[in-house]
């Protein structure tokens, strides 16, 4: 006997993500889901970004890691509101699922925020599959990871709304073709905005900050 089902397997996550989206809309806060492989520089990029945006734009951060509160400690120094999610309590998941976000968002209190950034767990595969109710997805790739990564992880670069190429201060020491990696990103995702930056030297931040400010304004009117 065949029983017809026709259901999306991640429907439970999608339902939670929709609830989050509604919550963020009510709170009038723009939400960015930031993703990359481990160590591409999400936290470092955020630390610098937060300092440059505040106090004009009020920013909160939810940071996900399997273990440790190292990243939250680094981010708190900027004066932003920060809360950490450790997924080892939930079986060491390789991504943040939508249901984990809402409690942290409430704990953070979104009433006085214009922008909420979620630093996802370092992984170029799984987080791309899980909607958390964000308004935009940002992927960070660093110049030490190889030009072919966009082609090897196409889903991540497909779902991204913006890409950051980080650690460009290291280019003089590497055989890395920055033009080729940007081309590869655009092969996967034509018209993807790509910002080349160094979170260390703070080179190239202006266009990225400008992009964020416009997006925040488009949603919140602030």
């Amino acid at each position: 006997m065949e029983i017809n089902i026709q259901k999306r397997v991640l429907e439970a996550n999608e339902t939670e993500a929709d609830k989050n989206r509604k919550f963020f809309k009510d709170k009038n806060v723009f939400v960015v889901n930031m993703m990359s492989s481990p160590g591409s520089g999400k936290t470092e990029t955020l630390c610098k970004t937060l300092v440059k945006l505040m106090p004009d734009i009020r920013v909160g951060v939810i940071v996900g890691d399997i273990c440790t509160t190292n990243d939250a400690d680094r981010l708190e120094v900027t004066g932003a509101k920060v809360t950490q999610i450790n997924t080892d309590q939930f079986g060491g998941d390789c991504h943040l699922a939508a249901n984990l976000i809402i409690d942290s968002a409430k704990q953070l209190g979104c009433d006085d925020l214009d922008l909420l950034i979620v630093e996802n767990i370092g992984n170029l595969v799984c987080p791309a599959e899980f909607d958390i109710g964000e308004d935009a997805r940002a992927v960070v790739l660093s110049v030490t990871e190889g030009e072919d990564k966009p082609l090897k992880y196409p889903l991540m670069f497909r779902v991204a709304d913006v890409a950051i190429l980080n650690k460009i201060d290291l280019l003089p020491y590497l055989d890395f073709d920055a033009k080729l990696v940007v081309d590869n990103m655009k092969q996967v995702h034509p018209h993807l905005p790509v910002f080349e930056i160094s979170a260390k030297t703070e080179e190239g931040f202006e266009p990225w900050l400008e992009w964020l400010k416009i997006k925040v304004f488009e949603k919140t009117g602030r």
Partner: protein, 115 residues
């Protein structure tokens, strides 16, 4: 990666779909639709599924996966085509804004019970 979570959801949905009046149900097969761009590794999924279905009505059930091609549409020139690699650039107008129509599915279409 996250195949364990997907396997758990599969089992949950399957169990919830079995009519309550069937005594000792035994699932022989689960029919799935998985898009070629979905990040699901077939052997990891099968492996996780086998582990968590021990001593359940789904023990020894087969996963029959229909892989869905990645179809895209160019919003600029209105062409549709299948993407087989990682390249999504429009081959017709070169500069179009390309949207995905299919290829990200992770769906359970039906299950088959033993008589």
């Amino acid at each position: 990666m996250h195949e364990m979570g997907i396997a758990q959801q599969l089992v949950q949905i399957a169990i919830d779909s079995i009519p309550e009046d069937i005594e000792n149900p035994k699932v022989e097969k689960l029919n799935l639709k998985i898009g070629k761009l979905a990040s699901v590794v077939e052997h990891s999924l099968t492996f996780c599924f086998e582990i968590i279905t021990k001593d359940t009505p789904l023990e020894n059930a087969r996963l029959d996966i229909d892989f869905i091609p990645v179809m895209v549409h160019c919003k600029s020139c209105d062409n549709e085509w299948e993407v087989t690699g990682p390249v999504f650039k429009c081959p017709f107008c070169e500069d179009g804004d390309v949207e995905m129509l299919t290829g990200r599915e992770i769906e359970i279409t039906s299950l088959e019970l033993a008589d």
